[in-house]
């Protein structure tokens, strides 16, 4: 029986050759779909490519008309590039790896409008988990605007409920801790059981008080010395146990003190909570800053955090096995498991990319720029070097007088380290409404500064706008419900802010990479706080005093009970241990004295 169908060889060969030719012709659209698919997944919004031109013989891939949608603004491109020419190594392709030695990007433009929306349909928005994290943070840090209408309302302190106050919870926690500590002390003291040992030693000491060789006899004296030594050893061991118990009691006392010390902070938090509940305006500039600008600044910082998360997801550190979603197909996608190996190529590497871009027209960013990306990879531990990105302005008639961006993503090992620094001078700054205050500030042109440092799970950064010639605009819509008091306050605020020609707004964020704390400082807040103090200082202070009195009344009993309980437990435990140890020391000293006397007897010591 023959096993090989020899006459099928030539048709098969022809079929393979035809397949190869088809593959050759389909290479361009395949690369186009690949770039669009991978880019879309990476960015979380549509990536479009007009055409791809692949020349496998000399390893050149040219991409024409690339548009990358801004995920935060789907009708705008994050950037658009006319031509991208890549020099690709052919050998790594056999390992399903893309290694680009050099890339040249021409005709790069940022923020260009799109003809169609680049938003992904809901079902395709798998990337959004990363974006959601940033959006959740933005929602979390946004602070409600100043509400002048609350200033004229009666303060209803009865709305403050005891069960919502942190002080009461802190006081109850302290009492619970005290009860637990007391129970533990009693259990341990009972286990140590010092009385029988001390009583027995005391009885021996009393028995030997006036004993002598004559009264004891030689044998009795030897027995007495042995008894004394045994009792001294038992007392020493007991003393060790009591010392350990004392250390535990002191530890518990420290824990108790810590909980009691947390109560004032909780009370301060309750004052703030109650103020917020009753919507009392703050007269402090640090509290006013977030009320004025938390929305626009959180949105911008949120975008930066989004890219930090993207970098974390797509540039993971280390050589650990990683699980990724498989490719989209009619069948189930499955999971791709990536097994990085240090001695080979990363799955994607862009060795060096140079981008020379000229932003034309009279726009705010007009001018010539030079950019450089090195070591952009999906497996930095395999590549062994961090990714860097530098962009600087090299010339131009108008637009920013100075612009520089530097990014370093060091994900080679743990902890990951990301740094970003950007300074744009002479660029147009936004126009910001002052919510609730009936005014708007147009910042004009000025300086934007960005700084971000991420180390492991911690992130810190700074975002600042500085403008020296701002324009103030007053809202023209008049609300009829405004009272004369509110109008007077608005007038005062308007007078205060319009005195400012130079404005500085600085946001700082620090904390965990998923939810950093945001603080905003601005001289506008200082001016507004001054005006509010001038107009409303007395009323607000009075309302604040009412709020504080209500909180104090609700928590005072609980706090007093917690303190008393804590003092009692601490005092009792330390006193009891101290007393037992004092008695022990006394008995031990008496026994040791008798032992010294008996040891002087010849033939005994």
């Amino acid at each position: 029986m023959k096993w090989i169908r020899w006459k099928a060889v030539w048709p098969l060969s022809v079929a393979l050759i035809l397949g190869g030719i088809a593959w050759w012709f389909l290479l361009d659209p395949a690369v186009k779909w690949g770039v669009e698919g991978v880019g879309t997944r990476l960015v979380g919004a549509r990536v479009d490519l007009r055409e791809a031109d692949v020349r496998p013989t000399n390893g050149v891939v040219a991409l024409h008309g690339l548009q990358v949608t801004n995920p935060a603004a789907p009708m705008t491109n994050l950037f658009e590039a006319d031509d991208i020419v890549l020099n690709v190594r052919m050998a790594p392709l056999l390992e399903r790896k893309v290694v680009v030695d050099t890339a040249v990007i021409r005709g790069l433009r940022f923020g260009t409008p799109r003809a169609t929306s680049g938003a992904l349909p809901e079902r395709e928005r798998e990337e959004s988990a990363v974006m959601r994290a940033a959006q959740d943070w933005v929602r979390q840090v946004e602070v409600p605007p100043i509400a002048l209408s609350t200033l004229t309302q009666t303060v209803n302190v009865q709305a403050i409920a005891a069960e919502s106050l942190a002080t009461i919870r802190a006081a109850q926690a302290a009492r619970t801790y005290a009860d637990t500590a007391r129970a533990a002390f009693q259990r341990d003291l009972q286990a140590a059981d010092p009385r029988p040992t001390i009583d027995s030693a005391s009885a021996l000491a009393a028995r030997l008080q006036n004993a002598s060789l004559r009264s004891l006899g030689l044998g009795g004296a030897r027995q007495a010395v042995a008894d004394v030594r045994r009792n001294v050893t038992a007392l020493t061991q007991l003393d060790d146990r009591l010392r350990a118990l004392e250390a535990e009691v002191r530890g518990n006392a420290a824990g108790l003190t810590e909980r009691l010390e947390a109560i004032p902070a909780a009370r301060q938090a309750d004052y703030d909570y109650a103020r917020g509940l009753l919507q009392l305006p703050s007269l402090n500039a640090p509290a006013l800053g977030p009320q004025l600008f938390s929305a626009p600044i959180a949105e911008r910082v949120g975008r930066m955090l989004h890219w930090v998360h993207v970098a974390e997801r797509y540039i993971p550190p280390g050589l650990e096995r990683r699980f990724q979603q498989g490719p989209s197909r009619v069948r189930a996608s499955g999971t791709n498991v990536v097994f990085p190996r240090a001695t080979t190529w990363p799955t994607f590497l862009l060795g060096l990319a140079e981008l020379s871009l000229t932003l034309g027209g009279e726009g705010v960013a007009q001018g010539e720029y030079l950019g450089r990306i090195t070591g952009l990879t999906t497996q930095p531990a395999v590549h062994g070097a961090p990714t860097t990105f530098l962009l600087e302005r090299t010339g131009g008639r108008t637009g920013p007088s100075d612009a520089g961006v530097a990014v370093l993503l060091d994900h080679v090992g743990l902890p990951v380290r990301d740094t970003l620094g950007a300074r744009l001078v002479g660029i147009a700054l936004p126009t910001l409404p002052l919510p609730g205050l009936g005014a708007t500030v147009a910042l004009g042109s000025g300086v934007t500064e960005l700084a971000l440092t991420r180390v492991g799970d911690s992130v810190s950064g700074r975002f600042a706008w500085q403008a020296n010639a701002v324009t103030w605009l007053r809202d023209t819509v008049v609300t009829t419900t405004r009272t004369s008091v509110i109008r007077a306050i608005e007038e005062a605020i308007w007078r205060a802010v319009t005195r400012l020609n130079a404005v500085e707004i600085e946001a700082r964020f620090a904390g965990s990479v998923t939810s950093p704390r945001l603080t905003i400082h601005t001289n506008i807040a200082t001016a507004i706080a001054g005006a509010l103090r001038e107009q409303l200082g007395e009323e607000v202070r009075r309302a604040e005093a009412q709020v504080r009195a209500r909180v104090d009344a609700l928590v005072e009993d609980q706090v007093a009970q917690a303190r008393a309980e804590a003092d009692r437990v601490r005092g009792e435990a330390l006193e009891r241990v101290g007393a037992e140890r004092a008695r022990l020391e006394q008995t031990k000293a008496a026994l040791e004295a008798r032992l010294r006397e008996l040891a002087r007897i010849p033939g005994i010591g």
């Binding site: 048709p11 098969l12 490719p327």
Partner: protein
Amino acid sequence: MLFIKFVQSLFKALNSDGTPGQVGMGMALGMAFGLTPLVSLHNLVILAVAMLATVSFPGVMLGWALAVPLGFALDPVFHATGMALLSAPALTPLWTWMTNAPVLALLRFNNTIVLGSVVVWLVALLPLALLFRMLVARYREHVFARLQQTKAFQALRASKLYTIYELFRP
């Protein structure tokens, strides 16, 4: 014209073998196209084997057709199998080598569905071939003889559809 001649010669070559064993093995091989993701390098290899080996090519096509719905239905099993294999610490060196080796990496065995379905198919290959051989033999022995007597079959025989059916006759 040249293309039609090429297709004719291809099919003539492929249909020249039709024992129960050849049909059974053809069907078992063809099931790879339905059970595993179609556009994969391993399927190109299986196609070459199916064309070069003296197995029944219509059997390959039939196996493929039978396995397509099975493939969809068994995807969760393939995923679980693939995940178990790819997660096994003892096999990590093997997968690390395979997924970083030239050409072998193109097999995409680091995908749970691809690896799971290929392994399940490989394990089932011989049992399936034997089962199909037995079924084809029994069909030819018992069913075909009776089928020939029916009017419906004779009517069908007169139609063009029979030329397709002829591929399966003894």
